[in-house]
Symmetry: C2
Subunit: 424 residues, 2 copies
Amino acid sequence: MNVADWNIVLQNIAGNMDVSIINIGDELLLGQVVNTNASTMSRMLVEAGMEVKHVQVVADDYAAIREAIGGTLAGTDAVLVTGGLGPTKDDITKKVLCDYFGSELVESNEALDNVRRIFAQRGYPLTEVNRAQALVPRCCEVLNNDLGTAPCMWFGGEHVLVALPGVPFEMEWLMRNRVIPKLQATFQTGVVRHKNLLVQGIGESFLSDLIEPWELSLPPSLRLAYLPAAGMVKLRLTFRGGAGELDPTPQYLPGLYELAGKYIVGEDCETLAELAHKRLIAMQATLATAESCTGGTIASRLTSQAGASAYFRGGVVAYSNEVKEAALGVSHATLLTHGAVSEATAREMSDGVRARFCSDYAIATTGIAGPTGGTADKPVGTIWVAVSSRSRTEAQLLQLGSNRRQQNIDRAANHALAMLIRML
Amino acid sequence: MNVADWNIVLQNIAGNMDVSIINIGDELLLGQVVNTNASTMSRMLVEAGMEVKHVQVVADDYAAIREAIGGTLAGTDAVLVTGGLGPTKDDITKKVLCDYFGSELVESNEALDNVRRIFAQRGYPLTEVNRAQALVPRCCEVLNNDLGTAPCMWFGGEHVLVALPGVPFEMEWLMRNRVIPKLQATFQTGVVRHKNLLVQGIGESFLSDLIEPWELSLPPSLRLAYLPAAGMVKLRLTFRGGAGELDPTPQYLPGLYELAGKYIVGEDCETLAELAHKRLIAMQATLATAESCTGGTIASRLTSQAGASAYFRGGVVAYSNEVKEAALGVSHATLLTHGAVSEATAREMSDGVRARFCSDYAIATTGIAGPTGGTADKPVGTIWVAVSSRSRTEAQLLQLGSNRRQQNIDRAANHALAMLIRML
């Protein structure tokens, strides 16, 4: 069998199972809650080698839910439904499923044990309303929900339907531990592996032009995705193959580095904050931050990760000139001569916080995030970033050319984290 | 006409126009991007007095888009479609719309002028690919997009279809300035007004029990929504009425304050950070922050708002004990005797940052955000919050009883902001 044939076989083995998602909830249609469940589920399914064909959101309404299920199930391998499984009167998914599958509600011993366990854990008495959580359609299989009282229900057959609770952390746990493994076993979806590369310092379209020859050389079992964020791009290389099939990623990576190596900051992380976090922990090095225009965003991103206290000594949000002088030791003369938004100030902020907080490395930002406050010399989007180690300090100027405040903050934060990682 | 009849008339005048949303984009089905467009659009439509019946997400695929439009348009007053309007080969919405409405693509002078204007602004030459952005189906009306080159297209008739670009800030601007006013004029949706109240210090279900008698007394023209966030609840009271109808909100508000006044932190803001921001600016007072467990989140939320430099002098992210001592003046003895997570440390952090940064007010947080790091005495979720003015310092203990790090950080940040606002 030649390579071309082999690739056709691979495509037939992998990636041909499709899924539809139905998210139920008035709060989603009122715009009170962003539907993160849809994107979380889609990402997990795609990473597990399945394809999401369609997402829909419907109200907590019997007819709307029934119509959505009826219009979807026959045309797709599996339908995943979230929401409407709580004990209150608004939650009617179970009633719809019972009627749709011509079944009846019965008390599941397994689900009841789980409800009892969770209430005992929380030290609450079990009420009748809560006991009703253990009622499920007779024809379904209960997938145990370790994190909550709402059961996850699997309706098997040629087309599979799975009903999950809408609470995001319960849904995510059930997807990872119950639903995706069972879907993979049922539909034999093959092997899927991902490789993430964080790229910074080049725009998405320039990157795409730069690596086009390499991208065109990839075999069909490898798929490349561009995931742009503020001031950076995450490249994701996905391998899909049959059992025993060799993942060709390692033999293709050097070609990518040859073309775009100088822009690749690191691998196997989702964000630059995660990459900096892991590197600093591995190196047993410490960090301090001095933020003006980013206003605590860098510190907040680092410390939102468990274990940040191992390396993060602290930071100063130096919004006023007085704080830059008093808390960071920026000299009055520098602020007078060069201004707060200048290379000299950024360097003194970075050196100052490193010295005062006794850290191995430091980051500093100072600039005009906007939407107002710019001048002819220093328009909105002018931002200086500095990073320091024990032996040297580097500074770079960003001219973001935009007056969108949050975007400028996010881009400056990502630029600073990338500069730090390159110095580590 | 008695009150009951009048209310029935009101309900018939207002809120009976329904909308479906179709968001097009492979990136949404791959889970690479969270579909914030759907929630933004839903919220704007609901606030403008319309009802969102259904949201669906489909791939950049001719058949999928055509099926979604065909299956939706006849059953709803208006269908709003986002995405697929760019100049690249993936973007096929215009082709589908042309075929669906039996029209043909023509160059719109208005759209071309807009493309020219935007390219001139950016200083780029106009290429053939970009010029193609001005092609639209002959049967549509172009709604001018001030922020981008993709046109917004209105297809009128008994059932209206509007196609918008998927870029969030362009979509939002077009919704606010073009699409919603035109939908309101076309469907005569009546008057809609909102009143937001920020409530803190009571859980959603307890709040609901507490104000139930008041909620039951509301006339049908007023609708109450609970919008819970980390450690707080936003109550939104929505009035919908016919032209000239009096908004009864002012006469009902005192009843709410009578029952729950002590938990209401303020009105007419979306977040506690926005409320603190506005109050401090109005008072011409200044603020400094000293954050341990919240790691810069409070500073970052305040400074993400334009104009924060008017009151925010700066902050310290005091992650290590050394920084608490050196940068905030917390005494070594306090840290030894009471520990970093203690009332005494929180008070000294707050007083220290206020004195050192010469501000009128200060906020401090210190605690164990988790998921690990707790002890029997101080389990994960134990957090002290302090706020100071020139004349006094207050401290409160939170026992959040959860090991979910981000949630604990967000709840502590909101608690601290509410304490500050109450002190102002």
